[in-house]
């Protein structure tokens, strides 16, 4: 078992090494590389839509990585680079969509559901607390199927 694990982990490390070797970009310094990695992680690959640009092996993702790299060399800010891609591929490329009319539900829907859930809990707890002594008599013995 241990040998299998070792083999698997070795293969994984080999893959990482290959992945980095395929697409070497001449970064000026480490800070720029980190910035590039962070930026491409926030951008979605359009071909395999559940991957980000940093991870995707798709041909287009490689082209777009190079494009992002070139724009960085031209001194463009992260915002400008994102806008550049949004102009061409719509907000869809952003993993972090902007707050606007069409995304309100996306941004605040979970909060609404959470509040609704909290309200249900509060109401239930209160209702149970009140008739605990008053309505005990006419209720059958606890069958254990309360929720």
């Amino acid at each position: 078992m241990r040998r299998v694990l070792l083999l698997v982990s070795m293969c994984l490390f080999a893959c990482i090494a290959i992945a980095q070797a395929i697409d070497p970009l001449p970064f000026k310094d480490h800070a720029q590389e980190v910035r590039f990695q962070n930026l491409t992680r926030e951008l979605r690959c359009l071909v395999c839509q559940n991957e980000n640009l940093a991870d995707s092996n798709a041909d287009l993702a490689r082209d777009l990585r190079h494009e992002v790299f070139n724009l960085m060399q031209q001194g463009k800010s992260d915002e400008e680079i994102k806008q550049y891609l949004v102009d061409r591929y719509s907000d869809f490329v952003l993993y972090d969509p902007p707050v606007q009319g069409s995304t309100l539900l996306l941004w605040f829907g979970p909060l609404v559901i959470l509040l609704a859930g909290a309200a249900v809990v509060v109401v239930t707890v209160r209702r149970r607390a009140r008739p605990a002594n008053a309505a005990m008599d006419d209720r059958p013995a606890d069958e254990g199927d309360d929720w």
């Binding site: 082209d63 777009l64 102009d87 239930t124 209702r127």
Partner: protein, 180 residues
């Protein structure tokens, strides 16, 4: 009554789930609406396939509407689309410009020689650089550009006889009405 609340909650979740399934069967999840519709086509200067010394630019094409069809010999769906273009390309009323995307020139020529050439002209984007400006993310894609150089319609994926009839032809007809 209060014991039924979880049941209704469950029904609500089932309904939501069902809606999700229905929605995804009605819509192509891979389709990304282009932000370029009703915006000027990006400026491009690209060589012709049959004569790379000659280039075609967006500005040279101004004045008359045309359809740009992004294709490549390596693209499987383009092979499905190709017979449709062969059959109907000439009858849609605007010139069809082939946009050879990230392809080898000799492969593209062989492909056209073998399957037929439905295009009035073929331009080449070997590196796919201009295609990024067009927001191309997968061949085949088609762009209807009007006489002022504005993109009026985009189709992602193969043009089918149905799409030509229901989407492309009405879009072309709308253009004809605007500029008699």
């Amino acid at each position: 009554m209060s014991r039924l609340i979880p049941f209704f909650g469950f029904l609500l979740l089932v309904a939501l789930f069902g809606f999700g399934i229905w929605w995804n069967t009605q819509h192509d999840q891979r389709e990304v609406p282009s932000p370029l519709i009703n915006k000027p086509a990006p400026a491009f200067v690209l060589p012709k396939l049959d004569d790379p010394a000659q280039t075609v630019s967006r500005d040279a094409l101004l004045g008359k509407p045309y359809l740009i069809n992004v294709f490549a010999s390596w693209c499987v769906a383009c092979g499905e689309e190709h017979p449709v273009l062969m059959a109907q390309g000439k009858s849609i009323g605007v010139p069809v410009i082939g946009y050879n995307y990230k392809d080898d020139a000799s492969d593209a020529k062989n492909w056209l020689a073998q399957h037929g050439n439905p295009y009035n002209m073929v331009i080449v984007d070997r590196e796919g650089r201009t295609a990024i400006d067009f927001g191309v993310y997968g061949a085949p894609e088609s762009f209807l550009v009007d006489g002022k150089g504005i993109i009026r319609y985009k189709r992602i994926g193969p043009l089918t006889p149905e799409a030509i009839e229901k989407e492309l032809k009405p879009a072309i007809a709308a253009l004809a009405k605007e500029s008699p």
